[in-house]
C-alpha cells in the first residue's frame, strides 16, 4: 500500500512524457515543468553526492585512518577549486587554464594508460586461451582496424582493394547494428514494464 503513491506518480509522469511525443504543442508547458523538476532533482542529487564525499574524507581525516593524508589533499583541492570558481568564475583565463591544464592532462594520461593496458591484455589472450578462432579473430580485427586508421588503402571504390577496404570498414557496423537492435528492444521492454508498474527502479521491488 505504501508503494501505491510512488507507482501512481511514476506511471502518470511516464505516460505524460510519452504523450508529449504525440501532443507536443498541447503538453509543452507541462513537459517543460516536469523536465525542469527532473533537472533540479538531478542537481540536488549531485550536491548530496558532494556532501557525502566531503563527509567521507572528513571522517577519515578526523579518525586519522589509513590514507588520511590523501583525504586531506582531496579536501584542500576541493575547497580551493570551489572558492576559485565562485570568486574568479569560468570567465577568468587564469582559472580556466588552471583547471584545464590539470584536468585534461590527468584524464588524457589515464586514457593512454587504459589503451596500453588493453593492448597488453589482448596479447595475454594468446597465453590464456591459445590460438583459438576467437582470439585469432580478435587480434586480426584489431590489427586491421589500426592499419586502416593509418590512412592505408584510401583508394577509389570499384577496385578490388577499394572494395576490400570498404568491406573491412563496414564490418564493425554489422556488429553495431546488432547491439543497437538489442538495446532498443531492451529499452522498449523496460519502458513498458515501468509504465505498467511491473518494474519499479525508484524503490524496492
Amino acid at each position: 500500500m505504501k508503494k501505491l503513491p510512488a507507482i501512481i506518480v511514476s506511471v502518470a509522469i511516464g505516460l505524460t512524457v510519452l504523450a508529449g511525443y504525440f501532443f507536443q504543442a498541447e503538453l509543452s508547458t507541462v513537459l517543460s515543468l516536469i523536465v525542469d523538476w527532473g533537472i533540479l532533482l538531478a542537481g540536488v542529487a549531485g550536491l548530496i553526492g558532494l556532501g557525502y564525499l566531503a563527509q567521507y574524507h572528513l571522517t577519515r581525516l578526523m579518525k586519522r585512518e589509513k590514507g588520511a593524508f590523501f583525504s586531506l589533499i582531496t579536501l584542500l583541492v576541493f575547497l580551493f577549486t570551489l572558492v576559485a570558481g565562485l570568486t574568479l568564475t569560468t570567465q577568468n583565463p587564469f582559472y580556466r587554464n588552471l583547471i584545464l591544464n590539470v584536468q585534461v592532462s590527468v584524464e588524457a594520461s589515464l586514457l593512454a594508460v587504459l589503451a596500453v593496458t588493453l593492448m597488453f591484455a589482448s596479447l595475454k589472450l594468446i597465453r590464456t586461451r591459445g590460438w583459438t578462432p576467437m582470439s585469432v579473430g580478435f587480434l586480426i580485427s584489431a590489427l586491421i582496424s589500426l592499419v586502416l586508421n593509418l590512412g592505408v588503402g584510401m583508394t577509389e571504390s570499384g577496385t578490388v582493394l577499394g572494395e576490400l577496404v570498404a568491406f573491412w570498414r563496414r564490418l564493425p557496423i554489422v556488429g553495431a547494428r546488432g547491439i543497437l537492435l538489442g538495446m532498443a528492444i531492451g529499452g522498449l521492454i523496460v519502458g513498458l514494464r515501468i509504465l505498467l508498474g511491473m518494474h519499479r527502479p525508484y524503490g524496492e521491488e
Partner: protein
Amino acid sequence: MAGLICPECGAENPVEAERCQECGAPLIEKSQRVDEQLAGLPEDPLDFLAQADDDLPGLLHALKHEDDQAPLTEPPGGEESVPPEGDEPVDSSEEPEAEETLPEWLIRVRQRAQEEEDSVGEVTQKLVVAQDHLKEDISTSQHENFSSWIEGIREEDGAKESEPAEETAKKTETGAEEGSSEDKDWLVKIRKMEGKFIEETDQEIKDTDGDSLLQWLVALEEGTEQPEALDETPELVDEASVDLPAEGDDADEDHIQQSEAVLKGDELEVTQLTMVAAPTPPVEQPEPPLVDVTRSEQQQADQLTATIADEKAARAVVKSRKAKSTWAIRLIVDVVLIGSVVFSLFFREPAVLPVAPMPSQHEDMISWIEELPADARLLLVFDYQAAYAAEMALVAEPVLEEVIHPGRQLSVLYTSPMGELLSRALLSEIGADRDVLTDDLGYHPFSAFTAYQAGISAPAAWVIPSLPKSGRTFLADDYEGIILLSDTFEGARVWIDQLSALMPGTPLNLILSAQAGPMLMPYYDSGQVSGMISGVGEARNFSAAEGGSGAILIRWRAYQTGILLMVTLIVTGILFSSSQVDDDGEVNA
C-alpha cells in the same frame, strides 16, 4: 617362584626380603622408589600419548606398549610373571573415568569418529596393517611351547648364530657376562629389549638390520624425533615382537630399566619383572591426564598428527621464471615509444596527403555546411569529457572552421561538468569567440533531460491555469542545425533519439571520437543523422578534401607513428606469446 632381583648382584630374593641375601644390598628402598615411579607412570599404556606430547612417535610407542602388555604380564607356557609390588596389571578398562580431563583434540577425534566411519587416513591405515602384522608376529612367537619360539629366533638369526641354542642357553644361564659376545648375541638382544645392557650391546644392535613392517613402524616413529635411534632396534623388534624402549623417548624410560629375562634350557622364563631405578634421580613430571583412548581415537590422532606434519613440511618454492633483463627491455621499449612520437611531433610542416574518396557522411556534412545561410543560427552541444579534449579538438576544428563565419549565431550548451571550460577553449582556439555571437545556454547535468527539453521547445497551444507558464525558450525555432560533439555512443544516442522524434526537420550533425563513430553509423544510414565525422583519420580526410592546413595535418605524422608502434608491439607480442606458449606447453598452439 617370583621374587626380587637384586640390582647389585642379580641374585633372586624373596618378595618380603628387605636386603639381598647374597650381597646384602638394600632392596626395599629401591623397590619403594620403583613403586613410586610406577605410580607415576600411566597405567594405561596409551597414556604415553600425553607424555609424548601427542606426537606421532609417542602414539606409535603407545601402540607398541599396548601390544607388549600381553607377553609381559602373561608369560607363555604357564610361567608366572610376578609384577613388582604395588604394580597392577595394566588394563585400560580399569582406568578411572576422567572425562573432564580429556584434551580437546581427543574429544574432537571422538566426535569425528562417531560421525565418519572412514575418517582414518593413509597413515592410520598403515598403522592398522602394522598392528595386524604385529599381532601375527606375537601369535606366532607365543607358541604353546616356548622352545619352538626360541627355535624360530635361532632360525631367523641363523646366519649369525653358529652355536646351538641349547649351548647358548646354558652359557646365558650361568651368566651373560661370562659368555662370549657371539654366544650371547640373541640373548643380549632379548635382554636389551627388556631394558638391560643397552650400553653394552648398543653398537651390535646398530649393526643389525631388518625389513619387517615393525621396523618401518619404528623407523617412522624414531625418524621424526630420534634419527640416531633408527638403527638401534629394528632386529630386536622383528625377532622378539616386543618393544625396546627407545632411548630418550620419554623421561621415564631414561631412568628405568625394565625386567630381566632368564633362559633355562630351551625355555625363556621371566622370573621377575622388576623396575630398577636408574642412578640418576628421576625428573618429576606433572601428572599426565588419565585418558581412556580407544584404538580408533588413537588412529585418528595419528591422522591428525600426520596432517599437521604434512602442513608444516617444507615444500619446494616455485621460482619465478621472470627474466632479469625484463626491466631493460621495458626501458628500451618505453624510450623507443615516447621518443618516436615526440620526434615525429617536431615535423611542423603539414603532411602532404593524397585526396581520398570522400565517404557519404562527409559529403552530406559538407553539403549541409555549404547550404547554411550567412546568418544561420546553430546549436553546439558539448558532450565529451576532458580526456578526449585533444582528439575532439582535432576532429572538430576542420568542421567548425567551415561553419563559423562572421554573422552567424551560435548557441552553446554542455552536458559534462568540464563542458564550459572545454567549449570556451575550443571556440577561442578557432577564433569563434571573436567572430560570432555566442549564446551560452549553460550546463545541463543529464543528456536525456536536455535532449528531451530541446525537443519540446514548441510553444504550448494552451496553458494550464494552475501551472506556471514556460518562460524560457530552450531551443529557438529557427535553428538551422545542431552540431553535437560527443565522445561516447550513449551520449550521442540520446540526442539522436529525442531530436529525431521531437523535431525531425532539424538537421543533426555529429562530430565524434573514434570509438563512438562505428556504433553511430547505423543512425546515419537510417537518415536520423544528417552527417557525421569521427576520429582523427576521418578528420584528416575531411581536412584534406577541404584543402585545410590545420593542426590535424601537422599532428598526422605523430598519429601515424603512434599507430605504427602499437601495431608493431602487438605483432611482436603475439610472436613472443606464441613462443612462450610453445615453451611452457600450457596452451596448445
